[in-house]
Subunit: 651 residues, 2 copies
Amino acid sequence: MDAPLLNTIQTPADLKRLSIDQLPQLAQEIRQTICDQVALTGGHLAPNLGVVELTIALHYVFDFGYDRLLFDVGHQCYPHKLLTGRLALLPKLRTREGMAGFPDPDESPYDLFAVGHAGTAISTAVGMARGDQLNNEADRKAVALVGDASIVNGVAFEGLNNAGTLDRQFLVVLNDNGMSISDPQGAMAAYFDRVRVSPTYGDFKKRAHKVLENIPGGSILEEIYHRGGEILKHAIATDHMFEHFGLVCVGPVDGHDLPTLIDMFNEVKDIDRPVLLHAKTIKGKGFGFSEDDATTFHSPKPFTVDGCRVEVASGGRSFTAAFADAMLALMAEDEKIYTVTAAMGPGTGVDKLIEQYPDRSRDTGICESLAMDMCAGLAKTGIKPFFAVYSTFSQRALDQAFQEVALQNLPVRVCMDRAGLVGGDGAVHHGFMDISIFRPLPGAVLMAACDEPTLKAALHFMRDYDTGASFLRYPRDSVAESPLQTDADCPPFKLGKANLVVAPNDKPDLVILAYGMPVYAAAEAIRKLYDESHDTPDTYDIALYDARFAKPVDIELLRRIIDADIPVLTIEDHTLAGGFGSAVLEACNEHGLPTHKIKRLGLPMKWIKQASRNAQLKEVGLDPDSIAETMKELIAAHPVNTHDHATARTQ
Amino acid sequence: MDAPLLNTIQTPADLKRLSIDQLPQLAQEIRQTICDQVALTGGHLAPNLGVVELTIALHYVFDFGYDRLLFDVGHQCYPHKLLTGRLALLPKLRTREGMAGFPDPDESPYDLFAVGHAGTAISTAVGMARGDQLNNEADRKAVALVGDASIVNGVAFEGLNNAGTLDRQFLVVLNDNGMSISDPQGAMAAYFDRVRVSPTYGDFKKRAHKVLENIPGGSILEEIYHRGGEILKHAIATDHMFEHFGLVCVGPVDGHDLPTLIDMFNEVKDIDRPVLLHAKTIKGKGFGFSEDDATTFHSPKPFTVDGCRVEVASGGRSFTAAFADAMLALMAEDEKIYTVTAAMGPGTGVDKLIEQYPDRSRDTGICESLAMDMCAGLAKTGIKPFFAVYSTFSQRALDQAFQEVALQNLPVRVCMDRAGLVGGDGAVHHGFMDISIFRPLPGAVLMAACDEPTLKAALHFMRDYDTGASFLRYPRDSVAESPLQTDADCPPFKLGKANLVVAPNDKPDLVILAYGMPVYAAAEAIRKLYDESHDTPDTYDIALYDARFAKPVDIELLRRIIDADIPVLTIEDHTLAGGFGSAVLEACNEHGLPTHKIKRLGLPMKWIKQASRNAQLKEVGLDPDSIAETMKELIAAHPVNTHDHATARTQ
């Protein structure tokens, strides 16, 4: 790519050597570089295009080798990464060797926190501001860059309210692009709309006198007004909602006007009180297709731009699409069903449901706690709520699942997409602990779907399960094109019952209990073993169960297997600490069944970095080859003696 | 007690038969009845005294047999309970046979949700409002009663923002008593202070003209103004911060003026849009001692009122007091230590630390997520943060513990008071799942303290543990007066190492691994067994370990025990699902150790209702007698054959 200015920048010091006149060209180079890359590999596009100028201006004015820059969500960090020495990592975006899609302290000291969940930057920055002060380094400026979609999150509010008590410099840059990841859902959006159409800097000079009139004499605002430069004077807002949180509010300013942004940052950076700078930006700025359809281009798969024609490459049929279609069918037949998402309309498929059933579905914005409680309220009135949420974000509604849902025995259905390893988004987005955190809740039922037929069957079960909460997990993956069982074959879900999907010919050498998607990896592993030993077809005889339930587990099945002295392999795309295999161990222990022939496969106790989902599965031993090896080891370690060919093999 | 009016009220219908003139007397009767009761048994006092008139007025105007009344937190529900047929249950307040201290749907259909954690009522009410609408019952009014301490919580903000999008009746009553459970910590408190000193209804008439001037022509507010009665006209606020959330804001009004409250509720109840009514109340209203020291009388132990002298009965030395003293000592020797609490200053002992070290400790208000993130920010700057939080409230910061703490490997120290069963507060406050939810976090260390010497040792360990998060749990209980080991004897904590506290004389028949406080119940159980068999002193030989760590568990110790074929009993005051015993099973399974001689004691998969902590422990089999029985059964089931006297006994 042709990026003569960007190519000269290894650190922000290089950026500071450019003249302000050169910066618009740099912005254009960054924009083109990011767009070219995302077109090749996929990644976050529109959020990054929106903050190019803001990022340049921040690095131009502040010194983030010393000062503190906190990103909220973090999917808008590409320009920041390109300005802090990571241009060379870009071509392998979101792979292990390349640039992570989110801030990553392992990549650069300019990334202070690895983040991906929204709403937390202000609270974290408040902590750093207080810490630097205690360390007698109060001159380290603190800046949090937050989008309008994030600021509606509860943690962001808590942070703003606390930031207002700071007695030192503290800057919140509100990047207001007028949309959540899809659309913002909440009354504040209307407030932002009103602010958004109010005059920006160009018109400020006209109203400077009016502003001064509205500032109460003797107030901090008046003091700051008189200490501020001309630009700040004209941009102070006296009627901004965040004023009530104790912040000096400035703007809105045009977030793509580099000279103004730089002047503005220069003027606010030395104000010794918390300031909120409201910047209006355009998500996807710079590319027509991206601006017009910022939702599609929020985080597209690879795409091609051919003149005006843009095509997003498509993969197989996703669990998300299967979920949306199954829910459309359920909602058609049951008018009591209501679906909720928390800003993940396209990601969970709920956008389709909102389109079809606008009165029976809702996007709460990035408010998972609200969404869970709203579902509890709906359930209390006899409505059947389904909350579609990423597994990783379900962590944000644990306390509501405890108090408003489980403690009331309310039938809220939680459908957790992206359960397990998620690929390029990396450690901040893996759904690795949903079983562990929801399993302690009395009355809760935990399920997993391994393919489209089981997904449908599970959703039917959940619709009818009305005595408590139910949780369903499924991965960020494609559903099997040729499922092990068709819709017609797939037996209905029965509470706590596993389902045999690969039957042995005889008494098995090994029984596999796979929870969710690993059913398919296990089936392939079995095929591999059978293929390997096709000259001696009876060498292995393996039964594979789709476990279906992690709570309650199928204790009758376990008893039959263990009483027959057959080894058991549990497989889950989830941490081993408190997960499905752990639930199996607990149940066996409680029922007096020995566990020494049980082996558990799952996620290890470490963070798995960005890579393809398949590479990650291989890394943790959950790919078919690794599973086949584990199966062989387990069979060798625990030969089933009463089994003729097994006995033969061990001699 | 002499309560002629209150005694006539079985349901709100009886209340409605009283004239408005009689209501102040009823309020006085309710107040006296509650105060007399709390003096006898303990319970929440000041919060309940503050909402007597609000509660009467709500029930007088609405019909909550049909309409929806949601309490936030719920510790202000006593007047509501007395008006809905539960006067007879009051004498056994907070016991199993008596009235629960929090709303409880099992007690009455007037209690819609069992709650105890703050900030959730608005979000839940929004769900009910939407559900009733779908059910074509939009005429069911929805009311959420929320305190100013709760409204700063993130979930409350999320709910307000969503409530603003409702196109129907919805009433938030903001009970503003000017204080959080202790003091509010956040800039909004200053905002409330300003609003609080602004005129109440008495002065409203004077400013009616001014209000109308400030309402933009053609707005919804103008329409409501003209449709409203005289009282509403004068009380509409045009500059309230929650207006930005799309709510019509009314007030502040005097929350103790019954006729005005009734008029006001009558006028707002038919407004077909969301309304926030801001009521000013006095926490502890009606009793001088309670108003003056509302923090002490928030939820006192039994106390006596003798003329002007009030004495709160004191129990033994609490873990909370021991924690505060240990932290005072640590903070004195290490100036990098910083302590944080989320509105639980007195409850966690952090109030003492704030008093002594105001610059190195902070109360965030009811903002657990903010508190966790603030700690992460502090840790990133090299400060050593300790977050003191109730175990049950730590659930509200799980996602922050995941993202900002564990994912960054930051040494944030989380000290969880009230871990395990909590007694009278009941199911909403048990700390029953902290191990399960934090154990999946890579790098996290989980510990428990069983007495004051181990609490101190654990805190020392945490101070020095700087490579990741550490979590410590201890119960709502008194520390042992005669600890098993003195400060001098108590060995320092060593990562993943259990500590032998009761040694056997010989090869033991049984090894107990107790996690935290159950160490003492187990020690007493052992004494009981030894006493029972004192004629044959060598019948039992039992080793008791204070397990200390749930993560990592002491696998070397487990190997030694299990290799010697000795049965193991794990004991924890925590759910068995994913808890300490589960961690033991997992570790043994991973290391190839059989588990059939391991028995786990802990909390069952059900909600444990209010009762004394000791009664609850007995209910779940964690009292010394039950533990002794389990020990005998386990020894009988798994005789240690190589042990002479054990062998003798089994013959």
